[in-house]
């Protein structure tokens, strides 16, 4: 039976989660150097395009189609066949099935987009496109099936708790990010040159959009307009807030000053960590999870720099580390007062969920990277890397603050200059 309230909330949540990907584009875009701002934004924005189409064609079916051996969904729903206005008998049974599928689509979009931060400023766009498509179908879809659908890792199998995608989205993307940054290697000049964020207000804007969208991500995962959704909404806010503190306190001790990027990164770390726990924990526990996530992610990012890994925008340090903190603490802090499913929570099951996702994602991602590198190549040539992705991959630049002198290149018949041209001449006549 369709419930209008549930349906309204799930569709609104889908829109909120969709908005997270452009938010991520700004978050990442501000963190890179000016010459790579568009290349970085494009990686996220393009995921909206490609993953949407793939999800409709086969992605949704692979993830949520009828279970095949606990491992993958069958192809019954290819092209969203049979996925319509009636609710699914299995998922979100009070909401049109097609509404559930479009909600899940938004998760499938942002997950591979998260990976791009680890290899920012050096990936070839053609290589990225192929990687994105393959990863979406060969890594995201099966892991989503195992955990969110009736696969072997989630409630119908091992019983690892993951309310909104701590394993499927964050550990999955974080492990893939680790594989990708090891495979692609460091940026040229890493460790010698200053890689300084070019637009910090853009970073903060992006983080704010992520935070906002996360209410759809977590509270939407209640799949209904319920008390559970309100609880998930609340702990999402609380964990993000606590994680800002959890990051800033060690930062002030270590570096003397609280930074805005630190505050934004701490918030994202808290949001990552509360994701698996959102439907299982009480607000006080969200404070614990947030503080722990902010602190652990600060340490992870700090360690990364010292071991010489170029996780450019800290996908491992925030999404993998924060995801693990959240998944494990869910096993400890889940409360039956919030959700009766919390009764089955153990740290052992959570550890299996973490280890399986991490191991599978890391290895499968490496194989995909090897294949893509062989077919089209993954890394831009040295000259393109120095020029920047914007110009070398997209023939654009992000900022033209000065007139650089130029004229249109005509590929067809040359039009005569328009009235603007004449007006400019007339103006200068007057000034003279």
């Amino acid at each position: 039976m369709i419930d209008t309230g549930d349906t309204a909330w799930l569709l609104a949540s889908a829109a909120l989660v969709m908005f997270m990907t452009p938010g991520l584009a700004l978050f990442y875009g501000g963190l890179v150097r000016a010459k790579n701002v568009l290349g970085t934004i494009m990686q996220s924005f393009f995921a909206l395009a490609l993953v949407t189409v793939l999800w409709v064609l086969v992605g949704y079916s692979l993830a949520f189609g009828p279970d095949v051996a606990g491992v993958i969904g069958g192809l019954d729903f290819w092209g969203l066949r049979g996925v319509g206005a009636d609710p699914s008998p299995v998922y979100a049974t009070t909401v049109p099935h097609i509404g559930f599928s479009v909600y899940q689509m938004m998760f499938a979009i942002i997950t591979p987009a998260l990976i791009t931060g680890a290899v920012a400023e050096r990936m070839k766009f053609s290589g990225y496109v192929l990687f994105l498509g393959l990863w979406s179908l060969l890594v995201y879809a099966p892991v989503a099936h195992w955990v969110f659908a009736d696969g072997w890792l989630g409630l119908s199998g091992v019983g690892a708790l993951d309310f909104a995608g701590g394993t499927v989205v964050h550990i999955n993307a974080g492990a893939a990010a680790l594989a990708a940054l090891l495979f692609l290697g460091r940026r040229r000049g890493h460790g010698r040159d200053a890689f300084v964020p070019h637009n910090v207000p853009m970073v903060i804007t992006g983080a704010a959009i992520l935070w906002f969208g996360w209410f759809g991500f977590n509270a939407g995962s209640a799949l209904g307009a319920s008390g559970l959704a309100a609880s998930a909404f609340t702990v999402t806010q609380v964990a993000a807030a606590a994680a800002v503190l959890g990051w800033l306190i060690p930062e002030v001790i270590r570096h003397g000053k609280p930074t805005t990027i630190g505050a934004a990164t701490g918030a994202v770390a808290g949001l990552v960590a509360i994701t698996p726990a959102a439907g299982f924990v009480e607000p006080w526990a969200a404070i614990v999870i947030g503080l722990a996530a902010g602190f652990v992610c600060f340490l992870a990012v700090d360690t990364k720099a010292r071991i010489g890994l170029d996780d450019s925008l800290d996908v491992v340090g925030v999404h993998l580390a924060g995801g693990i903190v959240g998944a494990l603490l869910t096993g400890v802090l889940a409360s039956t007062a919030v959700n009766e499913l919390s009764g089955g929570a153990t740290i052992g099951k959570q550890t299996i969920g973490v280890a399986v996702t991490l191991g599978f994602s890391f290895l499968a991602t490496l194989l995909i990277l090897k294949f893509v590198d062989f077919v089209v190549g993954l890394r831009v040539p040295e000259e393109d890397e120095i020029t920047g992705l914007d110009l070398s991959q997209h023939a654009e630049v992000g900022y033209t603050l000065q007139d650089r002198g130029g004229s249109p290149v005509h590929t067809g018949p040359v039009p005569s200059p328009g009235p603007d041209h004449e007006r400019v001449e007339a103006d200068s006549e007057v000034r003279r």
Binding site: A194, V196, P197, E251, R254, H255, K257, T259, I261, G262, T265, F298, V301, D302, A305, D314
Partner: protein, 112 residues
């Protein structure tokens, strides 16, 4: 004629401008610039990574003057731009071979 080039702290620009006006300077050029001398740059922190930024923002003021005005100009700048702390800047005095006012074609001291 001389070209007086002064590199000063940006927040002192207004005081320097007023001091120059007071000694009869009625034209100058200002450029935002950066560099370093004994005052080195500063440290910035991004996600725990500290970076040394070498170049300090400064303002460059350029004035062309007749020889007998130069001492007064140098004194005015020295007095108005000084804070007594490191990084107050420098003044360079260079010979200016010719000055031409583009609008009228006047040359030499008349064009200053």
């Amino acid at each position: 004629m001389k070209l007086v080039v002064a590199i000063i702290k940006p927040f002192k620009l207004d005081e320097v401008k007023e001091a120059l006006r007071a000694v009869g300077v009625h034209g100058l050029t200002v450029t935002e610039t950066q560099g370093f001398g004994r005052q080195r740059g500063h440290t910035e922190v991004y996600r725990g990574a500290e970076y040394q930024v070498d170049f300090v923002p400064k303002v460059k003021v350029e004035v062309v003057a007749e020889d007998d005005q130069v001492q007064g100009i140098v004194d005015a700048i020295t007095k108005s731009a000084r804070t007594g702390k490191i990084g107050d800047g420098k003044i360079f005095v260079l010979p200016a071979e010719q000055v031409i006012r583009i609008r009228t074609g006047e040359m030499g001291p008349d064009a200053v």
